[in-house]
Amino acid sequence: MANNNRNQEDKGASIKLGPKILDLLRKIGEIELENVEINAEEIEIWIPSLSPAILQQVPPSPEIVRGKPTEILKAEFKPPIQTYSGKILEVKLGATKSEGGSRGKTLTIGGERSPAFYLFEETQLNPPIVSVDVFDTEVSLPKSIRTHVQEVLGDPAAWAKLAVDKFNADAVTVHLVSTDPLIKNASARDAARTIEQVLQAVDVPIIVGGCGDPKKDVEVFQKVSEVAAKERVMLSSLTPDMAEAGILGDVCKAAKDNGHVVLAFTALDLNRAKELNRRLYEFLPKESIVMDLTTAALGYGLEYSFSIHERARLAALAGDNELQHPTLSGTTNAWAAREAWMKMGAEWEPRELRGPIWETVTALVLLLAGVDIFMMMHPAAIRTVKDVIKNISGLSHTRREDTDWISIRM
């Protein structure tokens, strides 16, 4: 800003004439607006005494006389706290013995009264959690994940145990891929047995994942609901297709009668999410609904997921009571991005890090958008996300040293 000298010169003109001229010009502006007949030439007649030379010296806005401060001028700062009329519902996953289930402990998600990690407004009531993906049958997995689960592939109970013991999973999601009519078409009874086995192998809350075929999923969820009665599992997921097929009520009834939670899935569309929730309210208590608004992979639409989660959360806090549910992210979708698994040039290696960082970044971005529960796969990604959640869920008041990165010697 080499405008010191200029300021000095301007001062005379602006102090004497500045505000007045500006007022005058503004007034002319208004007159012109009200009376369109007055054209450009006519306006000049209004201010004949002002020579262009003087006009030139009028700064864009009246400048305050500046002397260079010799000490720091104090300014006030108030944290920009807002009040919100809405609040996110709390949803409890799992049930302990005293509650009729067999989980070692339960997990509660939701309950937010301000946007994610706005700790200057509210403390984080229930930190987000991570549920680790387990498949009931051999599925094609990227190599960097496969190496970590090689020994338990095809054995969901062992896999769940590994997820809890080694990966520190808060919960486990059992994907009943084998029930897919286009894959193995395993029966609902078989699927229920798998869930029973997993419930015995681990004592964390369980999420039950379907195959995506609405009719089959409803059948499977009904059966699983019965055998897992009172365990308060989450059924993943209930979709608008089930509503269209007229079978949503059946699965909701099974969930309600046996005390389970449901995941309402919609594809990046808040209106549909609200619509589905309205349908669910006909059958279920609001405290048993979690929303999956769709997680697209980093590079393949993550920004849509990010914005839809931010919008949903802000609308919920502003009072939209059809969106006041905790949200879930199927973060494992990150592996759909080619950059997560593909062999690329040497400059992008190692793939063993590129893959899990893809999953991690996808999760972190959505964590900041307000997601409450993440379905994840890679142990390094799971660990990082859990660490970050721990670090950003509370303000630490220990005085930190200044962040001087200028002098770092690498």
Binding site: M1, N4, N7, L33, A40, L55, Q56, P60, S61, I64, R66, K68, P69, E71, I72, L73, A75, E76, F77, F117, L119, F120, L182, G212, D213, P214, D241, A267, L268, G299, Y300, E303, F306, S307, E310, L314, A336, R338, E339, M344, P350, L353, R354, I357, T360, V361, L368, A380, N391, I392, L395, S396, T403, D404, W405, I406, S407, I408, R409, M410
Partner: protein, 478 residues
Amino acid sequence: MTERTVKKSIKELSPLDVYKLLPRITPPCAECGEKNCMAFAVKAVTREVALEKCAPLLTEKYKAEYAQLRDLLAPPVKEITVGIGDRSVKIGGKAVQYRHEFTYHNPAPIAIDIADEMSDTQILERVKAIEGFRYNYIGRILKLDMIAVRSSSNDPSRFGAVVQKVAESTTLPLILCSFNPEVIEAGLKTVYTNRPLIYAATENNWSKMAELALKYDCPLVVHVSEDLRMLKSLVKTLVEYGVEDLVLDPGTFVGKGLASTINNFTMIRRSACGGDKLLGFPILGASIAAWKERTEPKELLMWEEACLASILLSRYADVLVMHSLEGWVILPNTIWRFNLYTDPSKPVSVEAGLKIFGAPNEDSPVMITTNYALTFFTVESDIRSANIDCFLIVVDTGGLSVESSVAGRYLTAEIITEVLRKSGIEEKVKHRYLIIPGLAARLSGEIEQLSGWQVLVGPRDSSGIPTFLKDRWPPKKE
């Protein structure tokens, strides 16, 4: 420049507010390239056109209106230019806090550090690597933007020499980093005409840094760790001093400190969007902080930096200083930055229908995909860059990707059969071979039964299309 009445935010501003202040010459002079002033006003409000396109507005007569309009349309976060000419970067200029409200402007430039204690060869190699970073992401080239030269030596002559060396070997805009004004001046002397960003004024050195910023006419970062009141006070002081192009750095902390970093960035941005002019400047994030006094293995620090960078980009950093240059660290962050700064109103889906690439004939391949925008753009970019002549049928799956639409039954054998009939492809080719995405492999049997077309299961990722076609097209007769 103190607090003042909160002006209308960009969301509330109507084209009429702008129109009122335009010259409104009759008949419209259309020098702006628009039909009339109203059309211009509509675009000016959404910042699609710059005010300066209206030539009459720039004349003496409309000086006051021009000033008012500039103020009216000024974003709550000031836009700062670093560098000159073609290779300059703009920092800040955000109109809103949340991405969905309005397109974020000026993708946060990523600066990679160079320490003045590195050897000459190291420095040149690093410059080369920074300039050489390139990634083709759905047809867009992603790059790195700046170099942050930092004085770990705290020796003015060493710093001056290194800055000169860097400036001679690159045209990328620079950030000169030191808390020592003498060191900064040694660097500025050689490159000030390139308008580098000065890092940083602090509670201790502010008047000397202010003098340098004024003397050399360069923008200045204000750094106060975790004390927004002091940060704001320093801004007030510097503005009063005459330094108006400022960037804010409330400090980037890792580990337990990350919570307050996120909160400080958020408070600054929300205050700015709420009309606090003293906090209405771009924010600097420093993921390089992940490297501070750490003894962990390098890969772990790179990993932490990759995570930290993505957090800072998501929570309002307008410029980012990084150390890692590894592809796997930079790639997710340059892609995320690109995504974050796209137009939030851009639809998730593209138009369905038959798309033609190159000059296909009756023997050319027929492929099928979904109308999810990112799926389509990826496939499109892969086909284009390999110069393939082919037909691509884009199915309306409600904007779902292949995997999700197969799972959710939005892409089924029935739907594909119907699309094949209706798309007119049966008149365009004489063969009956359909290439489906690898992720839809399980539909192949049913498709063959229902449609009568032979199915070739293509690659799981469209990057494999060129190789696939080389091996499998034309199909061998059975």
